[in-house]
């Protein structure tokens, strides 16, 4: 397990990318925006090939739509305001900006996308064996399908995967807790 914002971190030749790293890099107000943006720059600079699930893009749009909800309803539970029609024009603008940002990011990376239907047959087993949530299981199945083990994520939940399956790269701030989760999972 590694911290991708550590000074001595070296980008692998190819990695699988989780949504939360991309979302954090493209959203300027997020707490770990700087290390996540830096890691994408490192991947672009080093020519690292990034592999990701199509689900990453879908989740990114979801995150951006939720941002629009959060702007209008700073203190409300977003589930309760999800269908507020007044949010739609703002959400449309944010989604266009996000699509533009993502297309420009991809233009600077070596990349390959894995469609959800290519890995969906592995998902039930991953949910059963590791207790992963459905969308996390899709990312884990993407990792397995590619044959790669290096996985960039800020989600400590992936610590349940064995080190033989997943070499996790996270932020320094999350490294200790993620290691502890892996120990608790007996991995």
């Amino acid at each position: 397990m590694f911290a991708f914002d550590a000074p001595d971190w070296q980008p692998p030749d190819a990695v699988v990318l989780d949504t939360n790293v991309v979302a954090e890099a493209l959203l300027p107000n997020e707490q770990e925006h700087r290390p996540c943006l830096s890691v994408l720059e490192r991947l672009a600079d080093s020519g690292t090939a990034v592999v990701f699930s199509r689900l990453l893009e879908i989740e990114l749009w979801e995150a951006v739509f939720n941002l629009a909800l959060r702007e209008r309803h700073p203190r409300k539970n977003l589930r309760h305001v999800r269908y507020d029609n007044r949010v739609r024009p703002r959400a449309a603008r944010l989604l266009r900006q996000a699509q533009d940002a993502w297309e420009n990011t991809l233009a600077s990376l070596a990349w390959s996308v894995i469609e959800v239907q290519e890995v969906s047959h592995d998902v039930p087993k991953l949910i059963q064996d590791y207790g992963l949530q459905s969308y996390d299981a899709v990312h884990a199945a993407t990792l397995l399908a590619s044959g790669l083990t290096d996985f960039l994520t800020r989600d400590g939940g992936f610590a349940v995967l064995s080190p033989a399956v997943a070499t996790l790269h996270t932020t320094q701030a999350r490294l200790l807790k993620t290691r502890a989760r892996r120990r608790r999972a007996g991995r």
């Binding site: 030749d13 939360n20 493209l26 959060r70 044959g147």
Partner: protein
């Protein structure tokens, strides 16, 4: 378009009852090395990779050849989304 093929023997190795764990781990490491080399080489020629498990994918070459300019372009891309709000990006902002 060139297709680079690599061995991939152990998807979900731990879930295959006939597969001894130590062999699974060793082959997983071998798979990782083979996958990395093939994907990287495919990326350099805008080509395809094909794994022995049936997975096949196109690996896109970066549009910008200069690594420094690529990093700069990503920095610029990260300024496109204009918002003052914050969400938890791990849960995608779901409460």
């Amino acid at each position: 378009m060139a297709t680079l093929t690599y061995a991939h023997r152990s998807i979900l190795a731990e879930t295959l009852p006939s597969y001894p764990t130590d062999v699974a781990r060793r082959s997983r490491y071998d798979d990782d090395m083979a996958a990395k080399q093939s994907i990287r080489r495919a990326a350099s020629q805008n080509g395809q990779v094909a794994a022995s498990n049936g997975w096949r994918s196109h690996v896109h070459t970066p549009a910008e050849p200069d690594p420094k300019k690529r990093a700069q372009a990503i920095r610029r891309a990260a300024t496109r989304i204009k918002t003052t709000a914050r969400i938890d990006t791990i849960t995608l902002g779901r409460d």
